[in-house]
Symmetry: C3
Subunit: 214 residues, 3 copies
């Protein structure tokens, strides 16, 4: 069974990530152009990387102009509605989690539809989901969220990508099950932030005491 | 009507950006090898990204060895002529602006010749023009120039890419009109630096007072 | 004469670089997931870039799951064996040098087998060798090793890539000569670290006194 990749879900993921980029742009004191640009890099970066890796012609973000709408809408939303930039941290985390949740699903799907193996599809789902955020944080000169040891980030994306790939192979993937999977990823990410769920540190012997964030 | 992409203009753009990279390498205290490397990343990075996105075989910078000449020439120029590294800031901005002006034109052109739509061509022109500089500044651990809210950077590139795309569709693009467009982009960028032309900040409500640069 | 690219050597290079990534992850206080991720970025980044530039279908790291083994093994090794993270600096340099030595050889080979010219093959060998490390250091918010003026990094890679390309054209490249070339690159890199071999600075006129590292 194949499933047409729901373009709407992909665009929604772009929008969520673009909002996170525009919020960071606002916090860093960038201007509106920088806001559109950083939002585009975060929202479109992961998908462009995915399409380049799939080696199947120019990335969708360049060949289909509709992909420009979410970053423009995100920059406008942030411009008009954000009242207190310094307190927008929680909002940034929420929109980032939304993008993560959608992209691990749509990224895996696009890879499966391009004929990749399940392992490659999961890998590409994770790459799509974490790629844009890494680009955002590196550009703004911060250590990427995915490397913050105080919560889980890649693990929910990995679980979401594996879920989507499994459902697809069983022929059970549709808008309903895909949405449930995305919501589960989002919830896992937000709960890990709320309750400080952590993975073990990279070296067993070394456990510096880290302060809780916020 | 199609226009042969003037290789000379493309190489000149590579040279300008490469000089900006080698100047930054000198300011950071990198060695001559780092100067060639950073110059290559800035000068060739945007075009390599463009060619990868166009998905039309190996990037020109790798398949045509002549692209290695500008970065080597730029590193040599900086090595032999720069007397006072600390005072080379203005020079760096000028060469960067030269690269920006040429790349938004040649980037759009190459996309149009590859059969991309006008919107995609403009987008790719801007990507080519700002891509190398973002790579340069991230590598040197600085916030990319394109995100500095104290002047305009992406706007002149956008106007240049739109101009080139419009002229191309009208069949009016040639060496003369292309050069005029590039000079206009360069002038707009330099004037925005001189007079502090700014775009509105990313969040309307937040306007920290920023000191004028220099 | 063509030579089958020894997959084992490529995987060994991935492993060396992945260990350097996991060691840096440990030093930065990242968690085990970040260790796998940073190790993957360093170990697979250069090769993915190489395969994207060769424009020959999806990169090997995505289409062949065996490429996931070295980063997982590297993260496990670092997790279980590193006793003193703060003193692992020398180890990080050694594994990084091992990756550099293997990748300049295997990167050139893969380019030659894809039909690239000698110059392009050398260029791509260097790009593969230095690409992953640049990605690693940028992500961890450090100036990339390749730009450290206190020793040689790109020069040994360049010599290794040129050696491999020359040997290949003479029909003399095999496991034995390839290994000798890789060992020579590794030795050159380590000796440059030990004895502080340096290239001239990027600007002749500017020679700030730099302290010896360590």
């Amino acid at each position: 069974m194949t499933l047409d990749l729901p373009l709407a879900l992909d665009l929604l993921g772009v929008f969520f990530f673009a909002v996170s980029g525009s919020l960071l742009a606002a916090r860093k004191g960038f201007d509106l152009v920088g806001s559109v640009l950083l939002g585009s890099m975060v929202g479109l970066g992961g998908g462009v990387l995915r399409d380049i890796i799939l080696a199947d012609g120019p990335p969708a973000a360049f060949s289909n102009p509709i992909y420009l709408v979410p970053p423009l809408a995100a920059a406008a939303l942030v411009y008009f509605t954000v009242k207190n930039v310094q307190r927008s941290g929680r909002l940034l985390f929420m929109f980032d989690a939304g993008g993560l949740a959608l992209f691990c699903i749509t990224g895996s799907l696009k890879a499966l539809e391009a004929g990749m193996t399940p392992v490659a599809a999961i890998l590409l789902g994770v790459t799509t989901a974490v790629g844009g955020g890494i680009l955002r944080d590196i550009t703004a000169n911060e250590v990427p969220k995915v490397f913050d040891p105080q919560d889980l980030y890649a693990i929910p994306a990995l679980i979401g990508a594996a879920l989507a790939t499994g459902l697809w192979h069983l022929g059970w993937l549709n808008l309903a099950t895909g949405t449930v999977a995305a919501v589960a990823v989002f919830a896992m990410r937000m709960l890990s932030l709320r309750y400080g769920w952590r993975a073990p540190l990279a070296a067993r012997s070394w456990a510096p005491r880290l302060p809780r964030r916020r």
